[in-house]
């Protein structure tokens, strides 16, 4: 009878089931209709659309699923997880849209179906990562995301760069997830279970050794740090971002990161900290230096990311380092360990989706025209491809965090959380980092608008599809910089069960 209950619960995972169905459908189309591209695109886009509708439908409810014999659920569909799922789905949607315009490798077009299948598998991984309350299930979701990503990073098969990038990604990804599972095994040893609720209860009783627990947490954080490309597990980022096909890089920089962050949030909110707030501050269940660890990783990430970005000549590498720095900013928001920080992280992430996806989109569009990702070849783009150049500038300004763009609001809320948590020095440091980052972001704009091109740009011209897509991302970047209430509301709703 438990089985029937569980089977029934399985049917409640509506979004996940639809996603799986779409994956299988795509596979079928790929096999039996010789990869009819229009059909593939229509099916995948509608599929994600349906998934998004389902997600928005359940975005304010909570539902416990797979309650086992020990009385605790294996999964809970709740708003925070749904928020992460929405972010991942939207970025997948854009990635599929970007795929059509990326002309890096001719064989990629032929294998579009496989790309979509794997892409949706990563989305499914994020879905399970977002709703699971069992460490083994979480880890499996994490691996589904990772394994599909390794394959996708090497998708540009004819470029040795892409293959090397994916090998590197796989090797270090596997290593860091092995470290993570070792941490889980210690936690299992200490508590005798992999269920988050039971572990939290046991930790809450305070019967456990601090040092071994700390060890387990450090190991767990290693895996997460890898996924969100935070210091000291950031080193793979530039190579993989550069080598992977650009539309997947865009996806990786957003969806993979939200996967890591949702896991971190889950562990913090449900495992290592007491539920609920005491005077708006989160209380850890045992005396561990959470604050120090998070601040250390945060400062390390933003400093390394920003300083090394200064020397980059390739725009994708530059954006890779910038994404390391952004992981640092986001972690700073979490390090505040207060309610404002949580809201800030979600708000930041929503905006990060827009601006980072947008930046990579323009990189694809420009590469299509000039066949280069090097900054020195960007000279004179501003007059030749003005729309792309202006859009890229908007995204970069937003990444810097200047008003009136969305990035400013995100940074503003993180700073607010830090000041609220009396972490003024970290706040200062964060902003100092933005000043450093300004230098390299502006350098891109300098190449776009100021520097004179050495050679004629020739036939480069803008196309309608690319233009519309850039506007779809660029316009909200500005609008949300001025009217950001909806996103605040969204973030607050996502944290419905956590905020005081």
């Amino acid at each position: 009878m438990e089985l029937t209950q569980n089977l029934h619960d399985l049917l409640s995972l509506r979004a996940e089931l639809v996603l799986t169905a779409v994956i299988l459908l795509l596979l079928g189309i790929e096999l039996f209709s010789k990869g009819n591209k229009t059909l593939l695109r229509v099916v995948s886009l509608t599929g994600i659309g349906v998934v998004l509708i389902l997600l928005f439908g359940e975005s304010s409810t909570a539902q416990k699923l797979f309650i086992g014999s020990n009385g605790v659920p294996l999964m809970i569909i709740e708003p925070l997880g749904t928020f992460a799922k929405i972010i991942a789905s939207i970025s997948a949607l854009f990635t599929i849209l970007f795929m059509g315009i990326n002309r890096e490798d001719s064989t990629m077009v032929r294998r579009e179906g496989e790309f979509m299948v794997l892409l949706l598998c990563t989305v499914l991984g994020v879905f399970f990562l977002s709703s699971s309350y069992d460490l083994i299930l979480l880890y499996t979701g994490f691996e589904l995301l990772s394994i599909s990503s390794y394959a996708l990073a090497g998708y540009n098969k004819r470029s040795s760069q892409s293959s090397e990038a994916s090998l590197k990604y796989l090797v270090y990804g596997a290593a860091s997830s092995a470290i993570m599972i070792y941490g889980i095994s210690i936690l299992y040893g200490l508590t005798g279970t992999t269920n988050i609720f039971i572990i939290q209860a046991i930790l809450g009783s305070g019967a456990l050794s601090g040092a071994l627990l700390l060890m387990a947490i450090v190991f767990l954080l290693a895996g997460i740090a890898f996924k969100i490309s935070a210091f000291p597990f950031h080193f793979w980022t530039p190579d993989v971002y550069e080598g992977a096909p650009t539309h997947f890089t865009a996806y990786l920089s957003v969806a993979s990161k939200i996967g890591g962050f949702i896991l971190l949030l889950r562990l913090i909110l449900d495992l290592f900290f007491r539920k609920g707030f005491n005077s708006e501050i989160l209380q850890p269940v045992s005396d561990l230096p959470w604050n120090d660890i998070l601040i250390f990783i945060s400062i390390g990430s933003m400093t390394i990311g920003n300083l090394v970005a200064l020397w980059q000549k390739n725009i994708k590498r530059l954006l890779a380092y910038s994404s390391i720095a952004h992981a640092g900013y986001l972690l700073a928001g979490i390090a505040a360990l207060n309610s404002t920080g949580l809201v800030a992280v979600l708000v930041y992430f929503a905006f990060y989706l827009l601006m980072n996806m947008g930046a990579f989109l323009v990189v694809i569009l420009i590469k299509n025209e000039i066949h280069s990702e090097m900054l020195e070849d960007y000279n004179g783009i501003g007059s030749k491809l003005p729309l792309y150049a202006i859009a890229l500038s908007i995204f970069l300004v937003s990444l810097t965090g200047l008003p009136p763009t969305a990035g400013f609001i995100g940074k503003f809320y993180i700073l607010m959380a830090l000041v609220n948590a009396d972490l003024v020095l970290l706040a200062f440091f964060l902003f100092l980092n933005s000043v450093i980052s300004l230098y390299y972001y502006v350098r891109v704009m300098k190449h776009l608008f100021i520097s004179k091109p050495e050679k004629e740009l020739g036939e480069a011209k803008q196309n309608v599809y690319g233009g519309v897509l850039t506007l779809v991302l660029a316009v909200p970047t500005i609008i949300f910089g001025i009217f950001f209430t909806p996103i605040l509301r969204l973030a607050e709703a996502a944290l419905k069960f956590y905020l005081p």
Partner: protein, 534 residues
């Protein structure tokens, strides 16, 4: 007043212009220029209407009821339950005797800079779009009464400025542009952090009795609005207010620019095209001083009182150091840039006096420096257009074949020196009168007075080198001013004369507010409230 959104229109008129410019095709250069001219021209007209409708007896400063042309619309209202209370950001514009002169200055200088931009040839569309965006940023900064709004406008100015210097500037434009950008953004770090700290420390009460944090700077000026545990609250025993004051001060001082944060200014000026130099010297530098008066002085009066000696000291250093540097320059534009540093020193000195005369002098000096320096940069631009050199030693005897031009130059130079009868004299003497009255900074004032002599020295020397003596043979066929140049220089010269003879035109406008400001700075007691509540 009326429901007519005067200030919104004043602020966003250039944006409308910008949108029109963006929609015009690239090739319609004159149409783009005319659009810009119309937009800035209308702005001047609107500023004039604002002036005409301005009630001289209302003080503003810390009282929302006495601000004029107030527009207050809730911009972001978000009740977050308990995690951060209610978030409320207002679109809050208003003008008082402190900002009114700056608004007039901004409108005027923008219009003149627009005329001066007529001979821009390279990517006209981009230039004027950015120019208009910059104009909106400046105007909004002076009018905003909500800190958040202020910050947004403050930052909006950065990017257009970067590009205006970086694309249309001189040979080292990229370096100068990024230096300007980085310096100013670095200053913004402090401003933003202090803003957040203040926001979290200040509570406002709605009509229904609910309290919420606020960005309203007028509420920040009232000690009784502070919460008990706010990070920048006077009740907070850590007393971070001192650090906050310093941070905010540095943020604004970079823009003034105050020694030792001034090094971006000469680079920016030398590389910027003439109209941008005019805007930079005419308006942007004032933003720093305006910020200090509006924010530091009114929100942190108790710390201001402690630190006046230091403000005066830096004022003195600016005056003397700027003058010496100016003396050593061989580049015409760099000389004016350093003279700006020196002249902004007077503003600081006047501010340090904390009395009606000195502060009035400081604000008047801001206005006068704006017009005079704008004129000087235009004059440099005139010869640069004709000769493509700015080396002081390349000229000589220009008076011989450019008599009218030299006439304007003499007016501007003498005004800058502070010759009685011209506007510079009034404001400088007010500054010194005010500062001299204060015993603690009297010595600094006396030393600063040497700056007048130095100023006269380098200005006269420059005049001699450029305009007097034998005419350099290279320049025998230079033409005198054309019509466009007249339209730029004449209004400025008229203002310089007018304010030299009837300073009350401006003084009356700001008098009430300055009195209230002095009241706010010297009387508001954050300490006693603190001890009283404990």
């Amino acid at each position: 007043m009326s429901s007519f959104p005067m200030l919104t229109l004043l602020t966003f008129l250039p944006i409308i212009g910008m949108v029109i410019v963006m929609m015009l095709p690239k090739e319609k250069r004159s149409l783009i220029k005319i659009t810009t001219l119309v937009a800035t021209g209308l702005q001047v007209v609107l500023a004039g209407f604002m002036w005409a409708g301005f009630n001289y007896s209302q003080a503003g400063i810390n009282n929302p009821a006495t601000f004029q042309f107030v527009e207050r619309i809730p911009w972001i209202t978000f009740d977050s339950g308990s995690w951060l209370g209610m978030i409320k950001i207002d679109y809050f514009l208003g003008v008082d005797g402190l900002s009114a002169p700056m608004v007039l200055l901004t409108a005027l200088i923008s219009f003149i800079a627009a005329i001066s931009s007529w001979n821009i040839e390279r990517s006209v569309k981009g230039y004027f779009a950015l120019f208009l965006l910059l104009d909106t940023g400046m105007m909004g900064t002076f009018l905003a009464l909500d800190f958040f709004l202020f910050y947004v406008f403050w930052e909006i100015m950065l990017l257009p400025m970067y590009f205006l210097i970086g694309i249309w500037g001189g040979p080292r434009k990229e370096y100068a542009a990024i230096k300007f950008f980085i310096y100013t953004l670095f200053g913004s770090v402090f401003i933003l952090l202090v803003m957040i700290g203040l926001y979290l420390s200040v509570n406002e009460v709605t009509g229904e009795g609910a309290t919420f944090h606020t960005f309203n700077i007028l509420s920040m000026m009232n000690p009784s609005n502070y919460t008990q545990d706010g990070i920048l609250s006077p009740f907070n025993p850590d007393n971070l207010r001192f650090i906050a004051f310093i941070g905010l001060f540095v943020g604004f001082a970079i823009k003034i620019p105050m020694f030792p944060f001034h090094t971006w200014l000469p680079d920016a000026h030398v590389e910027a095209p003439t109209p941008i130099s005019v805007i930079l010297a005419g308006v942007l530098l004032k933003l720093g001083a305006y910020g200090i008066i509006r924010f530091n002085y009114s929100i942190f009066p108790e710390i201001t009182r402690e630190l006046v000696w230091w403000i005066a000291l830096f004022g003195m250093i600016n005056i003397i150091y700027g003058a010496f540097c100016a003396m050593a320059q061989k580049d015409f534009k760099k000389l004016i840039a350093y003279s700006s540093v020196s002249h902004m020193g007077y503003v600081l000195l006047g501010m340090a006096s904390l009395n009606e005369v000195g502060l009035g002098g400081a604000v008047l000096q801001m206005f006068n420096h704006g017009t005079i320096t704008a004129m000087l940069f235009l004059l440099v631009g005139v010869v640069y257009d004709r000769t493509h050199t700015r080396g002081l030693n390349d000229f000589g005897g220009l008076a011989n074949n450019l008599p009218v031009y030299t006439g304007f130059a003499i007016v501007a130079f003498f005004a800058a020196i502070g010759l009685p009868g011209l506007s510079g004299f009034i404001s400088e003497s007010f500054v010194f009168l005010g500062a001299f009255k204060v015993e603690s900074i009297r010595l600094l004032t006396i030393i600063s007075a040497a700056g007048i002599v130095l100023g006269a020295g380098y200005m006269l020397w420059t005049m001699q080198r450029v305009y007097l003596g034998k005419l350099n043979e290279k320049w025998t066929d230079l033409k005198d001013l054309d019509f466009r140049e007249y339209t730029m220089l004449v209004p400025l010269a008229v203002i310089v004369f007018l304010l030299g003879i009837f300073p009350s035109i401006m003084l009356d406008l700001m008098n009430t507010s300055i009195n209230e400001l002095v009241n706010q700075v010297t009387k508001t007691d954050f300490h006693s409230i603190m001890s009283g509540m404990k």
